[in-house]
Symmetry: D2
Subunit: 394 residues, 4 copies
């Protein structure tokens, strides 16, 4: 066993930390996450610097312009990048683009790679992923019912999708639709690439989430496809392979989220430390002098460190032994790290008092929006039940 961080990653962590401290954190106060498109635009210069520094897309393969870092290294980098709410966006690591790029890399045709993956990986366009049909339980994808019917060389798609994150401003959407209605439940759907400017593709609204409709990359849209027509060559992978591909996409997707939470916890703990040392509660005594705050700091750091270790172990297992071997561990970290993150953020708010409720720190943003961490990509309960079932199997 070896818990040492490789030296080159140590250095990269330090450099990125300094960059985030200098370029992203000071600008946080001006971020208006509620006006996502403007914010996106204002971050393009930072992205250019990231590229110039040789840090762009650390998780994407080298052949599409990424750094091709293995998952454990990526986790260690993420711990620094995700200290800012816009870190992932600035470093080309943001969902859903990263997952879509991985899908296209694994299953895309040459033409799809040229048309969609290359500009996506370069950060020139954005994408989205249209999964859950409105009115059906996202936790059970076999309930999906939006049809994609063959007509000539095309698919004609009708769908009403819900919670299509980052649709607003995306160039294309990977739409899950039922191409094989008579197949057995897990072989009915396919993934189809649909440019968002295709006739019949419309946005119903950016769903207000925790008070914010966001806009741009920060949006979660309700969308409608009415007789939307795309060539059959837009299919990704085999017909009926939608679920299979979704699994391929969600596995790493889950670990990417966990890695992002590492950076969030890292920053929250820093902010706690800083505030505890600055905030005078009576003359000559600061929060850091009190038992309560010391206990919080100890508990939060410890729970974070334990969760972090499990995330790293899961990343290493995927990397060294493949996803099948790591399946249980990925379920574990998905719900465990999400809950630890919520606890750390909750404590960070409490430590900050009134300030913790405001947007003068990023804590309140994370606290309200990362509440979704326990829901997206499989709610806690879905992971616990399937993991528990597997663990109990004799």
């Amino acid at each position: 066993m070896d818990f040492a961080i490789p030296e080159h990653i140590q250095k990269m962590r330090a450099d990125i930390r300094a960059f985030v401290d200098a370029e992203l954190i000071p600008r946080e106060a001006d971020f208006d996450l509620n006006d996502g498109r403007a914010l996106e635009a204002s971050l393009q210069a930072v992205r250019a610097q990231v590229k110039a520094n040789g840090w762009w897309a650390p998780g994407l393969p080298k052949d599409v312009g990424g750094l091709g870092l293995p998952l454990t290294d990526l986790a260690l980098i993420s711990e620094e990048v995700a200290r800012s709410p816009v870190g992932y966006f600035c470093f080309g690591m943001q969902a859903p683009d990263m997952g879509n790029a991985e899908l296209l890399h694994m299953f895309g045709t040459d033409e799809q790679i040229e048309t969609w993956l290359k500009p996506l990986a370069a950060g020139d366009i954005r994408s989205c992923f249209g999964m859950t049909d409105k009115g059906t339980a996202g936790s059970n994808p076999t309930l999906l019912n939006a049809p994609a019917v063959k007509d000539g060389d095309d698919y004609v798609i009708n769908a009403h999708k819900w919670f299509t994150s980052s649709y607003d401003g995306a160039a294309f959407c990977i739409v899950m639709a039922v191409t094989n209605p008579d197949a057995e439940p897990h072989s009915r759907a396919s993934m189809i690439i649909v440019p968002t400017d295709t006739p019949g593709f419309e946005m119903v609204r950016n769903i207000p989430v925790m008070g914010e409709s966001g806009g741009g990359w920060f949006s979660h849209s309700e969308i409608k496809l009415t007789d939307v027509r795309v060539p059959q060559t837009n299919i990704l992978g085999e017909e009926g392979a939608g679920f299979l591909l979704a699994q391929k996409r969600l596995g790493p997707g889950r670990i990417h989220h966990c890695q992002r939470w590492m950076g969030i916890c890292n920053r929250a703990l820093e902010l706690m430390k800083q505030r505890a040392n600055e905030r005078e509660i009576k003359p000559g005594e600061v929060l850091a002098d009190t038992q309560i705050v010391r206990q919080w700091m100890a508990e939060c750091t410890t729970e974070y460190m334990a969760a972090r270790g499990l995330i790293l172990q899961a990343a290493w297992t995927i990397e060294q032994r493949g996803f099948a071997e790591a399946r249980d561990m990925v379920s574990m970290i998905k719900f465990h790290a999400a809950n630890v993150t919520q606890k750390v953020l909750d404590t960070a708010i409490q430590l900050h008092g009134g300030l913790g409720m405001t947007d003068d720190t990023p804590i309140a943003y994370w606290w309200r929006h990362e509440r979704a961490a326990r829901i997206f990509d499989g709610p806690d309960e879905v992971h616990k039940l399937s993991l528990g079932k597997r663990l109990l199997r004799q």
Copy 2:
């Protein structure tokens, strides 16, 4: 002992419930809590109906136009009114106006009552309460340092206040300022009524809280008073009695918050029940059929019922035996009910899945904004420490 709800309160509860169901809940979808002033305006018609139905200001004394309900009855009414986020506003029960009205009723001069209390109690004007100086810990009010200096017949006040809730649009602010800097710490400050249109009184900003600056009644402002001059007759109560009055204000204020949380929990549990029965997770099976959801419903309802009982007992104790006798119980419910409310709302989000994150139900609003419940009017820890100290005293 008698746990029966009096019959006339039973009836009033049923009537108010029907009213809230008919008049407030259907309009929730259109509420834009981020545009507080417009929302306020749009609710005036409902307020008029509430008045017409004889329900206005159930907690205020009869001589200023309220119903003068005792605290236990008020709690039972609140359980219905607070089922909507705007319930308190529509029924004339909203903070900080209610606390300010109570203060004015107890300590106001005839002139103050005429000028400020009457229109306030009638809902014709709004008010705010300027307590915490920016940069000092609100949990320790002896750190307050904004000076109010006598000059001729006036006080000249300089202050930079933080988290002055509902300042935006208020007619006056009760400002805590140091009138007696040389007195012992708890006798230094006084409460002074300052009309918000007094020269030198300015708003720095509506602080963005959990992503929302709010506006109007829904705001939390940072304000500045620069050489603001008001007649010395604007003082409320004795000079130096600021803390004494604040205690008188906060005691009932805390129980009003707890009573409001009763309504919030009540509604959240209803929404959970409704969603659990509607949401199909596989053909023929809804959430309500699962062990997980049944367990949640049982746990949340039970914790709510236990907290509710303690709130009612505290209300009864204040009402029958005075505040001093109820002091420990008020500390208990302040932190206990706040935490139970957070747990219920957290579970309600989880049960709703993605929908729980959106503003399509009021749950997400309560979840993010009532996070402050564990902070305002004394953070959990301040209550626990002072309660624990008293309990351990021999």
Copy 3:
């Protein structure tokens, strides 16, 4: 609503408290709960004093020698009696005798009342209740399969029962056995009174529970009935009514347990207070001076007070409106109060440090043996699931 404790109960509480302080607590150090029969014998003198003071069997009806207290008064008395682990035994309130006495009072024939109830209610004999068949889940009583077959005027019973509390030294056992194997599941079993000296009735062992086999009243026995023959007149109630009677017995039984936990929590909080004030942790500073211990005291007292209120409300509801009306509340308190009790005891141990692990206080006894509180008379989960199901029913 009225939360006042009636004056005569106030007085009785104070008197009993003084008695428990004087007669039971000082002798606790000598109790050997592992030698139950000797301990039982040594407590007979205290029982005589209790009778002389007019306090015997406060929960049993007057016509069998009890005080016939209503359930809410009984709860308030229990809060004092149960401060000692032997309080219930000394006051004639101990399970399973009290539940058996209630059963006999409700359903016994004149002869059964004369033969069994009278000496039982007087404390002259003890009893037990043989429910769970070894190897079947106690949480699902329909799995019960021990047969009682009619033969002439007798029943011939064969059974292997598990966890028959207080069998060791009991004069009779109420045995649940299947008399009607062909009836629908809830109508198959009957309750039959079986004297423990009947031939074929043997004890396999006193099951070691948390390291202690106990003995006497403190035992939990595994028993075997081999062709045990009793007259058919020994049946309690109707044939096949076993489950119906068990429900009648368990409802109040659950609330009796909750009421006992009130006394346990009451005492644990006292011990915490005492220890915190005595234990020096550095020169001039005791545990009570620390934030951690103050927080514990506040949290434990608050959770206790909330649980206590719900127990009292449930007792009042049974008393005033009948058991059916109180059903949900009884489920609530069964699991909620059991968990609060465990938390209070756990904190009490932590506060006492090493001493908390020893039998020099009663805390360790309660902590290990009341762990069963979350299991007996329906595990937490069984109550939560059935309660949740009812709450979700539209």
Copy 4:
């Protein structure tokens, strides 16, 4: 980073697992932990087999007959050994002997090594450690006051010690006593080796802990030293270095406890799995089929895995970088793993129902006795406060 278990340790784990399954677990039912001396004697044959298999004292240095395993390997071995409550005793890993042996190895004179360490390391004698003076807080060792006064070539010791684990039957005790009363608080005490048959050395009692006085290795004694006289050469290390040595002893001691808990959790999870698959709750349905039990299994396994990872990381850090570097992590695992263990055991009891309360599985034993895990070697709070203080230091 590398999370792979070395191959030779994999094999050793598998072999030891098979041994524990064959030799220890089947005999558990006959263990009477309350009669410690007899149990100790009955385990000597197993110890001989362990030695014959080349597994004796895996944590002790090779030069005294141990295997000299590094700490991470030791943790991985412990995960198998500690699956039985007597595993550590049978493999020569038991406290307090192991800690004492480490002390003697680091600081003993040649004579002390010959006389005490060799037979101790060989398992031929047992030892104990007399730390806490009765009536003082063990969590603050500077309160220690038992004097050791020089007289001629001897020390004359007077002490009343509390919770001297495994005194009963030990050949010697390492006694902490004040040799330099006028030095600064952390330099006042020394460690002195005192044979237990020295005149004036007496046992007051084996303290009943959780109902069991234990006896032999399973005891926790209250002891008295009255004018006990030993040669000054019996001092261990320098005069006044008692605390320094205690720190050297406690650091690894804490990690040994954590490693033991790994085995306990490992076994508890196995028992849970087995029971869940066997226990029918209705015809055709076992516990393992329910959501509740699946959720428990998932949560317990996940928390265990996260805690386990942190223990391994702490062990690796001590091993590779020294104790100073690992200090924070050791504090973390001491309280974190103790709490996870308690949670796992608590859930294991609940899953087993009534059976969980009995001594028919080892769960109840661990649950009651490992409650001390959160107290000994520094209570949770002491670790949290000192860790939190260090983390907050700028």
